[in-house]
Symmetry: C2
Subunit: 356 residues, 2 copies
């Protein structure tokens, strides 16, 4: 009996609600497929600041390190927005990525049929869009030295963007690997006409490319990519890029699908360990009302099954259940056309559990 | 008789063609409004690399410094893409910005009625979109120290992003000033939850804001801005941001209008001096065929009249002429629905000249 340990970090805002539904789904897959999970909860983000005086308590970090995977709800909220840096939820987020070695963030930007109309893009442009952004997550300007100093013209601030060959290699290899399992097209995004880190990035990509002769590679400048995502979203398969560009482009890509409230993401390190979370935020404005949409978090469990545990049967069952419930016309408020017919968080979770 | 000196830099690809038409428009405004211009041509970009061995020859720089304004076509092309850094057109572009002190890039993202359908966004989302991106142009990661070094994990590349208080102040003031002449709404875009330069940026914005009590200010994180541009483009009036974010967001904003081939831009320094150019590139694939669209370059002349010379009558005349010619149904290939009825570069220029 192979028991998988899952660290559960509900976080702030709607985090606990949506994670609650995902846990019900987890339990149902135990019953149906015979898998066994052990879940342990940890404090993280704003609630950890309030209760422990730090966004990432040592015990939460250790809990994650002991686990096979982490399920994260959402963190942050206006309450902590003006805190000093060490007491802000996002500092915890950057910390957990670095401490757990989660160098890769994988964000599928999928169009859900029932949400096609929610996109601001024309349906014919969106048609066939199904891309993945692979974002480097523990390097670049996010983690380089940052400081203030007195310059010739008064005070100045400095951020440093650093990448070494190994950091680029591992993320690029992973992106090529993912491309091989899909449409075999890879767009590597950089700003090689300006940045030294981008020139290093491009050199590494070009050196690795011959190992994947079947993958069609294109180099796209980041400004051009921001345009092409709008002009020809369906032409992309896998996009790989550095941390800061990935932050911007993955959000742009998610938004153009119109399905942002339904998208899940994985942050991976070496080996099979991964942290899984919905793309949406903590939505403090609707927290506690029981109206949030748990689907992105439930689909994060499916992603965890696929990428960390290799439980493809259970992953498919969850994905199919979600599809069935949506096809039957059930909607939470965020995705309902007729808001008066919207169902709540728990009702949506129950329906999906029942459909598994 | 106040003769204005204009440095004309045709550049590469379709640059010379589109600039040629803009010069005809310039001449016509001399006749109609009695203004007087002295134009002098300079080599820049790829052609300067070929003929002078450097993308920004000293004599071109001096020509620009002697001038009241610069009209630029477009630079670059595949021929020079693999050159070493000092011999690449974009190195000239960065050099001319720095040397001429052009710290501000202004890009109106306007929707042309006749091109509404060219956007990939739904018409109802685009409705009312009329925004300006004010991009800092001579600071940040573009101009900070860049180098390679041996690190603990092998070779690494470093880029440095630096901003001082004065650099931020001048661009932010300019953005507030522009907002005052328009919708009085300013979105300042940064990544203050991660970057030190962004925290400095936000401090300066908040310090200056009380000087403009009529302007409604919002701080938007760059990833969120990439999304909001897609979701609610018409809600933006003026967006101000640092160099790298501005590069990405101004291209995204331009593309979503569907009118990218028609957009002009201004790069300004202290005083009234400015460099004006179309947003589109050198389009080497169609260069020399006489089919390129000169409208963005012609509108760059109108922008020059407004921002550098204060010739509002002539600027309006050019803009009205463009509108009339478009309303009459004339189109170059890039904007024609029925390509078989498309007219050439010269024909389009002649029609606009005739309409002034
Ligand atoms: C909250 C912030 C630090 C974070 C990031 O920029 O990485 C977020 O935008 C994300 O994409 O997960
Ligand atoms: C060519 C390149 C260096 C340049 C930039 O990034 O500034 C271009 O993209 C632009 O926006 O003018």
């Amino acid at each position: 009996s192979d028991v998988k340990k899952i660290a559960v970090i509900a976080g702030d805002g709607i985090g606990p609600e949506v994670v609650g539904e995902a846990l019900k789904v987890l339990k149902k897959t135990e019953e149906v497929f015979g898998y066994r999970f052990e879940t342990e909860h940890g404090l993280f983000g704003g609630i950890a600041i309030d209760e422990k005086g730090t966004p990432l308590p040592q015990e939460t970090l250790e809990l994650c390190k002991r686990a096979d995977a982490v399920l994260l709800g959402a963190v942050g909220g206006p309450k902590w927005d003006n805190n000093p840096k060490e007491l802000r939820p996002e500092t915890g987020l950057l910390g957990i990525r670095k401490e757990l070695g989660l160098f890769s963030n994988i964000r599928p930007a999928t169009v859900f049929d029932c949400l096609k109309d929610a996109s601001t893009l024309k349906p014919e442009v969106l048609e066939g869009t199904d891309l993945i952004v692979v974002r480097e997550l523990t390097g670049g300007i996010y983690f380089g030295e940052k400081f203030r100093r007195e310059g010739a013209d008064g005070q100045e601030a400095v951020d440093t963007c650093v990448y070494n060959v190994k950091e680029v290699e591992r993320i690029v290899r992973q992106a090529f690997d993912i491309a091989m399992t899909r449409g075999k097209r890879l767009a590597s995004v950089d700003k090689a006409n300006v940045l030294e880190t981008s020139r290093l990035w491009r050199e590494v990509v070009n050196r690795i490319a011959p190992e994947y002769p079947e993958v069609e590679l294109e180099h796209v400048l980041v400004d051009n990519c921001a345009m092409q995502l709008l002009r020809r979203p369906s032409s992309f398969d896998v996009i790989v890029t550095e941390n800061m560009f990935g932050d911007i482009l993955s959000d742009e890509a998610a938004m153009l699908t119109g399905s942002i409230g339904m998208l899940s993401s994985a942050s991976l390190g070496e080996g099979s360990f991964g942290l899984y979370e919905p793309v949406h935020g903590s939505a403090p404005d609707i927290a506690g009302q029981g109206i949030s949409n748990p689907i992105a978090t439930i689909l994060s469990v499916a992603l965890m099954f696929r990428l960390t545990f290799g439980y493809h049967d259970a992953a498919a069952a969850i994905e199919t259940a979600v599809k069935e419930v949506l096809d039957a016309g059930h909607r939470t408020g965020d995705i309902a056309v007729d808001k008066s017919k919207a169902i709540g968080t728990t009702a949506m979770g129950d329906l999906i559990v029942a459909a598994i």
